[in-house]
Amino acid sequence: MSSNTVRMTDVAIVDEPRSTKPAGATDGPATADSGGSGGRRSPSPVFGHPARAREVKDHLARVVMWLAFLLALVPLVWILWTVLSQGYHLLLQSEWWTNSQKGITSRREGGGAVHAIQGTLIQGLTTAVISVPIGVMTAIYLVEYGRGKFAKAVSFMVDILTGIPSIVAGLFIYAVWVTTLGLQRVGFAVCLALVMLMVPVIVRSTEEMLKLVPNELREASYALGVPKWKTIMKVVLPTAFSGIVTGVLLGLARVMGETAPLLILGPYTKAIATDLFGGYMATLPTMINQDRSESLQPAVDRVWAAALTLILLVLLLNIAGRVVARFGSVRK
């Protein structure tokens, strides 16, 4: 609406480029039939044609923005297209969703990814079960209770945790779990490393969501004599719930695609494994890594298909996050 008005005035001005009258005092929109492509705009009578310069800048900025957008889009589309075109045909076979890779060699076709999908889901869920309470409670502390030095320290630590490269998290757990405690590399150790990566994500997103809850709600609750803990449980958390769930799902999507700790702590196996505390457990990233350097066609196909499966899995979680965010919010 408003842009339309501006344009009308602009066009009107264009008609009298050399007028010495102030810009506002034209003959009005009656001259709007002069083409009005929006191409030439408001030359100021005093300063010659600065409008042309502004116009050029405007166009330039627009072109640069679009180019940047397209540039950012290129790798995304490229990756998606390559993975899709190379990996889709294995995903269409039912065997892919029902069988493991046990007994399949790089030269043989067949087998599926169920062992890896299952491993990724189990490890992702275990990670979430551990990190969500820690993360959400930390965020509640920081927003609702935390004052003074301790809260600052906690907040600072979370910042540091956010910056930890995943391989460092993996090596840290390796140092504790294997080198110090002398235990075997198992799925649970992977989960511990992933927890280190997921907790800060959850803390930060939950914190933001809790801060968004209007203070009036809390005050109203207090005014009714409701204790603080009950206010948090019954008023603050439900209000922020959908945002928190979205944050958790996005965090989960992130750790599911994580590879570095898996390479260190979660050796690959081709068989189905469900025991988090004994034996190896396959995951999609390690499945991809296993045949990464292979040049035999069946193995290469499986790598692409596993990559596509992982992308789909993460995509599903992301979509779930959006859906919860959209439909789960408490009506105001």
Binding site: W97, T98, N99, S100, Q101, K102, G103, I104, T105, S106, R107, R108, E109, G110, G111, G112, V114, H115, I117, Q118, L121, I122, L125, V178, T179, G182, Q184, R185, P238, F241, S242, V245, P267, Y268, T269, K270, A271, I272, T274, G279, Y280, Q290, S293, S295, L296, A320, V324, G328, V330
Partner: protein, 379 residues
């Protein structure tokens, strides 16, 4: 209310996805057109061949050079012995040995035997023995020949001596009809094409072994130190399929690659003349070179000292032997029994023969007999 509904939806989704994936199957044996030679013997496999009753899981890690061979052996072993699972992670020889010493795997695969010399204040062999509580044995298991593969139109048979090979790969010989090549290939019409050398641009054990061979067999022509990174001339390509593919598409190209890549790309494979006449690359000729290698360990520790400059008649000298490294007295009785069963299967004539199809050479009979004796002595 809202929360409960969401929680319900979420839990249904999670339980559903778990239930979906939980009905997966490990059984890939039927209808997959397995070419494993051992699958025929599945019916008469006695319990002793499969380790302890009820099967079990073995974890191994190490050399990526033997990945395809051990995968094949694992596949046929699991076909034979249902209930067993063997995992092999090709993370590299060094990583495999480290994990073995750290007690993370049941045996390690390695391109070289455990070192007896000190490195970083540690002696691998002693470290391994300390972990095992008994000496760790190196068992040669997989032999991987390296082919000198070329693509020259009209030349089906090419003989190369170590000097000529070294001079081609260090850029001193630049055309195919160079007198040095013609001298060892009498009767073959060589074109005047330029030679295009392709090498592995990534760090590779293949490069290391090939340069070790050049250094040992032609020390005057090849002066660079052997190593994982290429020091000669030519054009770099990633991985074995990169160099093999480049030679396939480039007339006048030459490279070194694992046998299977040369075979899969149907490239010409040069015969190597170490001084006792040209030797074609076959399972037998490679076996001869392995058999000619001097044993370097005591008793059942079967470390081999390969002689790249061997003048043994009919022995193909450019090869790599990978070992399985095991505790001579296992720490865990059940695991030890299973390890023994698997290695026995791996070393068996049947399995070794099946490896030739995929570009590995079977162990020669005398070495294989020694390996079997050693495996029999594992406890």
């Amino acid at each position: 209310m809202k929360i409960q509904r969401l929680g319900l939806v979420a839990s249904v989704a999670l339980v559903g996805s778990l239930a979906l994936s939980a009905c997966g199957s490990d059984n890939n044996a039927s209808g997959s057109g397995s070419s494993d030679t051992a699958s025929g013997s599945s019916s008469n496999a006695s319990a002793a061949d499969c380790g302890p009753d009820g099967g079990g899981t073995l974890n191994a890690e190490g050399s990526s050079a033997q990945k395809n061979a051990i995968e094949e052996a694992i596949s046929s072993f699991q076909d034979k012995c249902s209930g067993t699972t063997v995992n092999y992670n090709p993370s590299g020889s060094g990583a495999g040995i480290k994990q073995f010493i750290a007690g993370q795997v049941d045996f390690a695969g390695s391109d070289s035997a455990l070192k007896k010399t000190e490195k970083d204040g540690k002696i691998e062999a002693d470290e391994a023995a300390k972990y095992c509580g008994s000496p760790a044995w190196n068992l040669p298991m997989v032999t991987g020949p390296i082919a000198v593969a070329y693509n020259v139109k009209g030349v089906d048979k090419l003989v190369l001596t170590p000097e000529v090979t070294a001079n081609i790969f260090n850029g001193k010989i630049t055309t195919w009809n160079d007198p040095a090549i013609a001298k060892v290939n009498s009767g073959v019409t060589l074109p005047s094409q330029p030679i295009k050398v392709f090498f592995r641009s990534d760090e590779s054990g293949t490069t290391e072994n090939f340069t070790k061979y050049l250094k040992a067999a032609a020390p005057n022509a090849w002066t660079a130190e052997p190593g994982k990174a290429w020091t000669g001339k030519g054009e770099g390509k990633q991985k074995s399929d990169g160099v093999a593919g480049a030679v396939k598409s480039t007339e006048g190209g030459i490279t070194y690659a694992e046998w299977s890549y040369a075979k899969d790309n149907s490239l010409g494979i040069a015969q190597i003349d170490n001084g006792a006449g040209p030797v074609e690359l076959t399972g037998d000729s490679v076996g001869k070179a392995v058999a000619a290698a001097k044993p370097d360990g005591e008793g059942n520790d079967l470390r081999l000292k390969l002689d790249y400059a061997t003048k043994e008649a009919g022995a193909y000298p450019i090869l790599l032997v990978t070992y399985e490294i095991v505790c001579s007295k296992g720490k865990d009785a059940k695991k030890a029994e299973l390890t023994k069963a698997f290695l026995k299967h791996f070393a068996s004539e049947e399995t070794q023969k099946s490896l030739e199809e995929i570009g590995y050479a079977p162990l020669p009979a005398e070495v294989q007999a020694k390996v079997e004796t050693a495996i029999g002595a594992l406890s």
